[in-house]
Structure formats: C-alpha cells, structure tokens
C-alpha cells in the first residue's frame, strides 16, 4: 500500500498535527513502508478467529458509582498552561 501526499495530509488532520511540507514528504514515504510491513499480516488466515483485545480476555472491572477521589482542583490546575477562576482557558469556540 502506497500513500499519497493527500492521504498523509488527511491523516495529519484527523490526528490534529500541523505538519510542514518536509514532514509530509517524509511521512508519505515512511508511512507507506510501514503499511507494506503491516500488510504481511495478510499471509495469515484469520477467518473464524475471534479478535483478541486483552491478553487474559477478562472484562474490564467496574467500580461503584461513588466519589472516591479528593477534590484537588488547585493542585491539578497549577500545572495547566492557562486557567482563570478555576477554569481551563482555551481560544473562544462559540462567537
């Protein structure tokens, strides 16, 4: 499988990565080679094989719906890039 420049631009958009022209050129080449490696999987017959998501096939454990973590807003917001009045600040989304 060979990816085009447009494919890589689309993937980067989905992955929320702003790439330079040089990066797009480089990734077009290396991602195509990785996909060629990955497509070796086709050598295996996987018809009727149950997909495996977890090594022990156990289900995720649920916990009771109860508050257990202490309120640490100040400590957690102290490491945020921008906060104000206990809120995280981002560029305006709704005009």
């Amino acid at each position: 499988m060979s990816l085009s420049r447009q494919d890589v631009e689309k993937i980067a958009e989905l992955a929320r990565l702003k790439l330079t022209d040089d990066e797009i050129a480089d990734y077009t080449q290396t991602l195509s080679r990785i996909l060629s490696l990955v497509e070796q999987m086709n050598a295996a017959d996987t018809n009727d094989v149950e997909p495996m998501a977890h090594p022990q096939d156990t289900r995720l454990r649920f916990r009771d719906d109860a508050a257990t973590a202490p309120d640490r807003r100040d400590a957690l917001q102290a490491i945020a890039p921008k906060t104000e009045a206990g809120l995280y600040l981002v560029p305006k989304v709704v005009e």
Binding site: L31, P51, P55, Q56, A78
Partner: protein
C-alpha cells in the same frame, strides 16, 4: 560497594557498615562522574539525601523492609509527585506530576530512595533511546553504541552501576531489549501483574512495568514490591502474588525448555546464536530437557504489533492537547489551530509517525483490514504459545537478533528499527512474562541477552531458571571496563 546485590546492600545497611545517606551519596557521585552517558533526565540529588535520612531513621527504629535505604532509579514514564515526569518528550518537559504512580508509591512505602528519573525514548516509542527529546543515552559498554530502548536510561544506569536497580516498562521489548544490549537482567511480568496507574500510557493492552537489575535474584526482590492488585488500574488482575525469591534456588532438573525454531532462522546473527547455544549447554548441565516447539504465527508479530500499538497510542496520546497540562504552542488562532500546533511542536518525529499510523489503521474504511485483522492475528500468536506450553515449561531464545547497533545507524529507517523487537513482541501480544538475562559477548565485545518466556503468572519459574544459570556463570557480574 557499587557492585553489590540488593541483598548485600540491605545487609550492609542492617549491619551499619554504611548508612543510606552514604550509600545514596556514593551513587549520586557516580551519576555525576558518568554524566556523559546521559542516563538520567532528572537527578533527585537533594531530595534523595532527605529520603535516605528518613530511611536511616526508619531502620534505627527497626521498621525496615529489604529495600529500606536502597537507592533506585525510575524510568521517567512513572509519575513522581513533585518531581519532573517528562516521558522523554518536549510535550511534558515542564510536567511536575501532582501524584505518584502506584509503582512509585510501593517503592516509597518500602523505604527505597529515588536517585532520579532515567532517560527513555519519547513516550517509550523507540528501540535505541534516540527518540528522546533529552538526547540519546550512550551504551556504557561502548559509547558508539545505543543502549537499546525504550528503557535505555534505566539499562545504562544499572549496567554502569549508577544505581543498584531500576524500573522500566515494556510494550514490545522495552525492558528486555535494552537489558540485552547493556548486559543486565530485565523482566516484563505477565500483563496485569504490575499496576499501570500513573505509568504514562503508550499501548494500554501491551504496557507492563518491570525490574531492570544485575541479577535474577535482584529482579525477584523488586517484583515482590511491584506486583499486586491495584483498584486504581482497571486492568490490574487480582491474582495471588508468590514470594518470587522463595523458589529461586529450586533445582531445574527435568524442567522442559522449548526452543522455537522460528527464533533461530534467518536474521539471527551468528555471534548471538553462538551465545544462545552456550546457554542451552549450561541448562542441559543443570538437568533441563530441551524440546523443539513451534510458534508459526510469531513471524507475523511485528506487523501485527505495528497496527495495534500505534492504534492504541493514537488514542492514548489524544489527551495531549495543551489544555490541562504539558506544552502549549505560543502562537495560535482558534481552538483547532491550538491543538494542531501544540501537538506538532510538542511531539517528536517518531511519536507523530506512530500517531499517524494508528490514526490511519483506525480510520473509517480501514478498520477491518488493519485493526480487526491484527486483533485476530494476535489471538493466533497467543494460541501458538498455549500449544507450545503443552510440551514445555518455558521457552528460550535470543532476546535480539544482533548486539547493540551503532548510534545513528537506524534512525533513518523506521522499519529496520522496528524489526529489532522481532523476538520480544510476541510475549507482549500474548501477555506472557518474558525475561532477558546477560549470557555472553558478541564478536564486537557488546553484550548478548537470552530470553525466557513463561506461562501466564509463571514469572517465578523464569527467575528460577535465570538464577540457577547465574549461579554457574558470571555474565551478570561483568561490567564495562571503565566502571570496574
């Protein structure tokens, strides 16, 4: 003193031959002397001495564990409260964690002293430590060589005896491959054994923390601290934890060791094969029975892994968006622009490559051909092991196809870099425990590791075989000449 085992150091502390403060200072001095190796991202100099003082006080009151006062280095993927936790990335270059990972908490509770945080490939994505934002680590055996990765800093630190023991993590070989390249012992426990809480996620269904040590005995002692159920990790398993040291010295007479023929084919360097053959002879001498086994689908483990791990990574790393912690771009327009610039500037080349590989594999129209196909193949690979373990008790083979390669020799070729983990990835996909032990030197004088893979939760058997081997050989005691 710096060549002593955990048991010997613990005894020396108990018998007051040395205090923890003195021992900690000794290792801090060694770290400074070997700064050129770049094994550490953060050296915890002042706080380590305070922790050592507390450990000495604790010991004087008789409230001790084996690790009380023993210095340890932690891979910079484990969150450490109040200390920089970078995961080898610019994205987290300013991240001071507000909490401790469970693994860190367990070592702190035992009284271990944190020497610092070790260098690593960015977000654990790499096999050479060259993707670190904080520059590569050098292999103490040969400074032209990589230490392996992603736990390259921990491996180099233990190999150069800058720390008695260190923690690492292993998603596709990141404990075992650097352990092999640096001539130390490293074990990836069964998936679910060691809590992943506070261990920055790469591929959640594969990631597992584990010990990086001189010997199997030291690794057993560390596992005793690290393993156990943790309600804070939804994939932690509530499985009984044995005393891993109790069975170290058991005879391995009659134990059946499987040799998968797929691990001895084309691609394996002759000098590595020679070392594995020598290990086989030693184990025969100890009474083990060698049997041939087959792992036919393991030859497709690398392609399978390079769908699943990047897919999980692309999802896990979506949290790095410049809003709640970590890096945020300086100049940006709207919210989408802030995300895109923050991630473009905060992540390095390899991390972006994996995020995009995973994004593609999960995108509409490609999911079945890539992600679902890989999950099915994963089961075939795991089933191969189940069948193999019907005729053997542990599987033996090389950890890596070659000894440590030169710095810069594979950085332009991601696929060549990925193929380094060809023998280690299958155990991650199956969730099985795997261990690398130092077993000799290659033609280039660089260390060779041999890998053992066991049944689920059978770490004790791997440690038992490793310990018996280390009783009759001294590869684990060999250190690079300039560290002697």
């Amino acid at each position: 003193m710096h060549t002593m085992s955990v048991a010997e150091l613990s005894k020396a502390l108990q018998e007051k031959q040395i205090s923890s403060v003195e021992l900690t200072q000794l290792y801090l001095d060694r770290i400074t002397q070997q700064e050129e190796l770049n094994a550490f991202i953060t050296v915890n100099a002042e706080d380590a001495i305070a922790q050592a003082q507390a450990a000495d006080t604790r010991r004087s009151k008789g409230d001790t564990t084996l690790f009380t006062g023993i210095p340890i280095a932690h891979k910079d993927i484990f969150c450490t409260k109040g200390m920089l936790t970078t995961c080898g990335s610019k994205m987290l270059a300013n991240f001071v964690s507000p909490y401790d990972a469970t693994v860190i908490e367990r070592f702190n509770d035992s009284g271990a002293v944190t020497l610092g945080k070790t260098n690593m490939d960015e977000f654990a994505m790499g096999s050479s430590n060259e993707t670190s934002y904080f520059n590569p680590v050098l292999n103490p055996w040969d400074r032209k060589a990589v230490p392996g990765g992603s736990s390259g800093g921990s491996a180099a630190a233990v190999a150069a005896r800058l720390a008695p023991v260190a923690t690492g993590t292993d998603t596709g070989g990141s404990i075992r491959q650097p352990a092999a390249f640096c001539g130390i012992t490293g074990i990836k426990p069964s998936y679910g054994r060691v809590s992943r809480y506070g261990m920055i996620a790469f591929a959640s269904s594969l990631d597992q923390g584990g010990p990086m040590t001189r010997s199997a005995e030291d690794a057993a002692m560390m596992l005793n601290v690290m393993c156990g159920f943790d309600p804070k990790d939804s994939t932690s398993l509530n499985e009984a934890v044995p005393d891993f040291t109790a069975t170290l010295a058991d005879p391995i007479d009659g134990m059946r060791i499987g040799l998968p023929k797929e691990y001895f084919g084309a691609g394996l360097n002759a000098d590595v094969a020679r070392v594995v053959d020598a290990v086989i002879e030693e184990l025969k001498g100890l009474g083990a029975k060698l049997v041939e086994v087959e792992l036919p689908n393991s030859t497709l483990a690398v392609p399978c892994y390079y769908v699943l791990a990047p897919a999980e990574a692309s999802s896990n790393l979506s949290r790095f968006d410049g809003v709640r912690y970590g890096y945020r771009a300086q100049d940006y327009g709207d919210l989408a622009d802030m995300y895109m610039k923050t991630r473009a500037e905060g992540f390095g080349t390899e991390v972006k490559r994996r995020i995009m590989t995973g994004t593609y594999a999960l995108s509409a129209g490609y999911y079945d051909a890539y992600y679902l196909k890989a999950q099915k193949l994963r089961r075939l690979i795991a089933d191969d092991f189940t069948r193999a373990f019907e005729s053997c008790d542990a599987i033996l083979g090389p950890t890596t196809p070659t000894t440590a390669f030169d710095l810069g020799s594979k950085t332009d070729d991601p696929v060549a870099m990925y193929l380094n983990d060809i023998y280690t990835i299958p155990a991650n996909l199956a969730g099985l425990p795997g261990m690398s032990i130092p077993a000799g030197l290659g033609d280039d004088g660089r260390p060779v590791g041999v890998q053992l893979v066991g049944r689920y939760f059978d770490e004790a058997r791997l440690l038992n075989i490793g310990h018996r081997f280390q009783q009759v050989t001294d590869w684990h005691n060999q250190i690079p000449l300039d560290q002697a």
